[in-house]
């Protein structure tokens, strides 16, 4: 039991830490593609300065993402040996595709992106930027396919028994396009775009508030605001579509997300609340029948509740699933309101006069990050007690031969190194932001002469 808990804590800690970085890389990649594209299109050096500036922050983010990602790849084997044997045949092809198609593209072009400014033409450099961006998008595809298969297995059959049981592929495309893949890939991509766009918004809002780099900050802010507005809206659609899928494929998870216990009754939609698992009651602000309406477009239609399932087939932490899910939704709604209002002001032409709004944007960088993390916690805790939904329990999936002392040792090691890494990340990104895109004292708007 103790080994299982420690293995779970270690996995949750290392994956949550890892997941700070790849979404930022994907989102910053998209923003840089627009910035560098504008540079090539208009020839305005300001866009080149912006691209080079964000590239520096991208480099740190990407680097930590890769380093912490390699750990994830091997942690399946070290801590989840039974699970690895069970899913190897399925994950195998996804991982092979990810390595060859995504990481190869990404890492080879990364060298040119970071160090190739003076060695290749601007066009080839732009192609490298696109290459790295696409590579990071592809790698998100394959890992989300693998995770979605755990949520909604398809295109497989089970061979063997007990510890030698395992899933084998019967239909590759059915496995790749399992019922939840497409919704979840789009949801993850958009979450990543928002994480990157809001970092750009935050930094340039900070510059604008301090009256620094005003002209280029306005340009960058508009690019990022465009991305942020579009994708906060479409994120609502993909979130809805994803939840519809959960209702069909993982009813116990959906019930936990809204704290719905009754076997079959219309289900409410909570704005916020607190679930008491003992009394099976939720205290909070609700729209009666709201969940029924979202799923079936009818306030009276019954939804299967947690009590309809055997006790050992529902998530143990209902309140946690509920809270994580609602944090994600609330942030999503707030981001829609914020970006729509800002876009409205942009259209009116007085966006940059609203100090209070820029202040909100300066702090808003944390919101998509929190939403991304909360969303994953809701998705993974909502799948419990299963590691592969309906087939393999989390309590059966960990490495039986690894001792709790070994995990304690590695967990402490991870904790120390990751704390150090996080501080270094904050320190160096902060330093780059403070230093700014160019030296104001030595080269006041030097690039402007090229315009």
């Amino acid at each position: 039991m103790e080994t299982e808990i420690l293995a779970r804590i270690q996995f949750a800690f290392t994956i949550a830490f890892h997941y700070i970085y790849p979404p930022l890389s994907i989102g910053l990649g998209l923003t840089m593609v627009f910035m560098e594209g504008m540079y090539l299109k208009t020839g305005n050096k300001q866009y080149e300065v912006l691209t080079r500036f964000w590239l520096k922050i991208f480099a740190i983010t990407f680097g930590i993402g890769v380093a912490t990602g390699i750990i994830m790849e091997f942690e399946f084997g070290t801590n989840w040996a039974v699970y690895s044997k069970y899913v190897g045949d399925i994950f195998g092809s996804a991982l092979a595709a990810e390595g060859l198609f995504a990481f190869g593209l990404e890492s080879a072009f990364l060298g040119i992106l970071l160090f190739g400014w003076n060695r290749v033409s601007p066009k080839v450099h732009f192609i490298s930027t696109i290459g790295v961006f696409l590579g990071s998008m592809f790698s998100a595809v394959w890992i989300v396919v693998a995770n979605s298969w755990q949520q909604t297995p398809a295109g497989y059959h089970i061979v063997g028994e007990g510890f030698n049981a395992r899933a084998e592929v019967t239909d590759f495309w059915a496995m790749v396009f399992n019922p939840s893949s497409v919704d979840r890939i789009i949801h993850v991509w958009q979450g990543a775009f928002l994480a990157g766009a809001f970092l750009v918004l935050s930094v340039h809002a900070y510059y604008l508030l301090n009256g620094r780099y005003v002209e280029i900050s306005k340009k960058a802010f508009k690019i990022a605001l465009g991305i942020a507005t579009i994708f906060s809206l479409t994120q609502l659609l993909s979130g809805h579509s994803s939840a519809d899928g959960v209702a069909v494929n993982q009813p116990a998870k959906l019930a936990a997300m809204e704290g719905h216990y009754e076997v079959s009754a219309p289900a409410d939609l909570y704005l916020f609340g607190w679930v008491n698992n003992q009394t099976q009651e939720v205290t909070g602000l609700k729209l009666p029948g709201g969940l029924s309406f979202l799923v079936h477009q009818d306030f009276e239609e019954p939804i299967t509740g947690l009590n309809a399932f055997p006790n050992d087939e529902i998530p143990g932490q209902v309140n946690a699933v509920f809270q994580f899910y609602h944090i994600m939704i609330s942030i999503g709604m707030f981001l829609i309101a914020l970006t729509l209002y800002a876009s409205f002001l942009w259209w009116r032409g007085n966006l940059f006069e609203q100090k209070w709004l820029l202040k909100i944007f300066a702090f808003s960088v944390l919101l998509p990050q929190i939403a991304n993390q909360a969303g994953w916690f809701a998705a993974e805790m909502g799948r419990q007690p299963w590691i592969v939904y309906g087939h393999l329990r989390t309590s059966e999936g960990f490495s039986q031969e690894v001792s709790s002392n070994q995990i304690l040792f590695s967990l402490i090691m991870f904790f120390i190194v990751y704390t150090l890494l996080f501080l270094l990340f904050l320190y160096s990104v902060n330093k780059k932001i403070k230093h700014g895109p160019y030296d104001e004292t030595k080269t006041p708007n030097e690039f402007l002469k090229f315009v």
Binding site: I71, E73, T78, G88, G92, G104, A108, Q406, L421
Partner: protein, 345 residues
Amino acid sequence: METILGLDYPTLWYLVVGLLFSGYAILEGFDYGAGAWHLFFKKDLSRRIAINAIGPLWDANQVWLIIGGGALFAGFPVMYATLLSSMYIPFMLFLMLLVLRSSAIKFRSAEEMIWWRKTWDIIYFVSNTLISFLLGVVLANVLQGLEIGENYSYKGGMFFSFLNPYAIMVGLTSLSLFMTQGAIFLLLKTEGRLYVRLTFLLKKGMIFFLVSFAATSLYTLVFLPGVTDKFREFPVFFVIPVLAFLAVANIPRLVSKKQYAYALIFSSLTMAFLLMLVAFQLYPVLLPSKISPEYSVTIYNAASSQKSLGIMLTIVAIGSPLLAGYFLFLYKTFHGKVKLDDTSY
């Protein structure tokens, strides 16, 4: 069982994994090797040049580890799960050192303070040295076999059993081979006094390699049971050790003629031939059991299904020309001696 060119799918995938591990050893060999010389360079500028010699390449080289690990997981899930969970401590150390090494490359030159750079220099040197050593240690443990029981469960020691005498010897051999590879690579990338210093260091590295290689080979032949059996059975494969020894002997010859590009090719070939030797000797076993041969992990009891292997072989057939293209483009772009500029580490 379906076959291509007379080879069944697990055997083909065994070759793919072997190829990926060889690529990883060759490419990251010079990365780690260059890092294992780091504290032998005294001046800050020399250290910066040494890091920037691998600067644009190491991230791409590391992809070979990611793909190699993925290929093992994909094709031989039982081997991946058994090896990693049995050798928990060395792999966790290896992963942690990889993180520290990446951080050192990224952050070392980001600040001017002497204490900052010195601290990262030590972290960089230690992590590269220990990674090179640990890779050999893991290989030695695979060669010797582990205490694998029924259902591939590990019955051996938890914390320090991986550090046995043979493992230490193979660890030193891999470290010295990487250092040789790294020094030759740096010679291709540097000029002036650092270049002169490296010609001196490379000689020390080669001596270190030849001594540990000879000792390890002798120990292997005397103490590891059955290592020569396969060659009696298939004498034709005796060509592999012969080629390995010729490649090893060729390195000092080319170095003395200052033909470093060819020397790099032959030290790379050395790694490839030595890994081939290991692969041939083990085949079809992946991880021998010390408890009983029937518990050993082999390419057949560890393999994914025919269908899955078939899909992956297709992916490899499509993906590897792409990967080769990216690498050619990358290495062509950064060909030649290191020039520091504002984008350098």
